[in-house]
Assembly symmetry: C2
Homo-oligomer: 247 residues x 2
């Protein structure tokens, strides 16, 4: 097990990732074989498995990396934009901008993500930490804006916005228009719609329907953002995987 007491371990881990990414970019998921990665990193295949439980865990590490990039890019947005609409749009656009270089490859990423079965799905328990970190971003989107949200919705709004965000990414993955321009237009169109919906939800008019809709969400526990003090502490540039097998 890679306990990293000896710091060389972390380097090796990073080396494997650095070896894997170009292979992925060149030949896609299939061509990125464990043997090729190992050779490129100057290791035997078995060693790679010492650091990554599975080939797909390498993908997951990429996922975590771009998530960090995204968080960084969001700081800027969240410091500037004041309205809920601008903040939301900014955060979502940042994600797409960050991911652009990897578009050709992201289908493989999403393949892992979309599989409900899989430990590495964003909805799974194993991805909880990453998910919560992403949801915290949307919590900040809401809190930092002047828009007030009524209590029952407020609890779920970060989770809902995260889901919206996942929807955008899903769209983007499928989007084969040049430069993924359709995705940008899609964002421009859906964000205002969503904001409007949130506004409308305040009208007493919607009371009963909203109530019903929110009651539904109780069946989606993973959408709940735990209280800030109960969350895992933020780690500096943590692209580290969970403990490896056997530990």
């Amino acid at each position: 097990m890679a306990s990293m007491k000896h710091k060389k371990a972390e380097q090796t881990r990073a080396r494997i990732l650095s070896a894997a990414l170009p292979l992925m970019l060149e030949g896609g998921y299939e061509k990125m074989t464990m043997r090729a990665i190992a050779k490129q990193a100057g290791l035997s295949p078995g060693a790679a498995y010492y650091y990554f439980e599975t080939k797909e865990h390498i993908i997951h590490a990429f996922y975590a990396q771009t998530h960090e990039e995204h968080r960084l890019a969001c700081r800027e947005v969240l410091d500037q934009a004041k309205t809920l609409q601008d903040r939301l749009k900014g955060v979502v656009q940042a994600q797409i901008r960050i991911s652009q270089p990897y578009h050709a490859v992201s289908k493989a990423l999403f393949k892992v993500a979309a599989d409900p079965n899989h430990t590495l799905s964003p909805f799974s328990d194993d991805s909880r930490e990453l998910r919560h970190r992403a949801m915290a971003l949307f919590d900040e989107v809401v809190r930092g804006s002047k828009t007030k949200v009524s209590a029952p919705l407020a609890d779920y709004l970060p989770g809902l916005l995260w889901m919206f965000h996942m929807g955008i990414v899903l769209f983007w993955v499928h989007d084969s228009s040049p430069q993924q321009e359709k995705t940008w237009r899609f964002i421009d169109r859906t964000v205002p719609l969503l904001i409007q919906l949130i506004r409308l939800s305040k009208l007493p008019f919607f009371g009963s329907a909203l109530q019903a809709a929110i009651a539904l969400l109780d069946d989606f526990q993973f959408l709940r953002l735990p209280a800030a003090d109960a969350r895992e502490p933020e780690v500096e540039n943590d692209t580290t995987a969970p403990p490896l097998r056997g530990s």
Copy 2:
């Protein structure tokens, strides 16, 4: 290539499927190895590949089979129920009822389905026929009801209902509550909500928002149901795969 000029071919195909399903039910997707299937069917592994391009194509055949079952079960519903709500709920419930025996296994099914990359995803070109057949069902749901739907929405409603239906299935796949009771409750709650939303959409109040929302859907071409006369003719109990490799 399996041209099926000799009718024995179809039998063999069926035999492979019959051999595969129990293996799937017992040990899940992983344990259902091609070698095991072949042995069970009394063939060599290579022969199995003569009939199914890929292991996942076998899964797709299951998918097509339950779809046929579903269509059958829907006839009953669609002959009886008159209101839009009852018809929609009936069709969705039928799907869940049909799929119940396969719940343990459906994650593997959905794994294939959810992968955007994959030829066999319900959103892909290769699945168009199956998808259109499913959407036609929802077209019938709407047409057979007394509810009138305004023109711009009407074009997309079957596709939207199909997506709703896919959402329910997604929920069901994840639902590990006993007997999947959460799914049934989920249906009971979401269907009325959806119906209400359709009703509301008629209010002039919603004009602009609806217009914007519908404009969005132009980017989802796969949601469009082609005109009835342009559709592939219905085939009796067709669980057949598309032409095999090389042809």
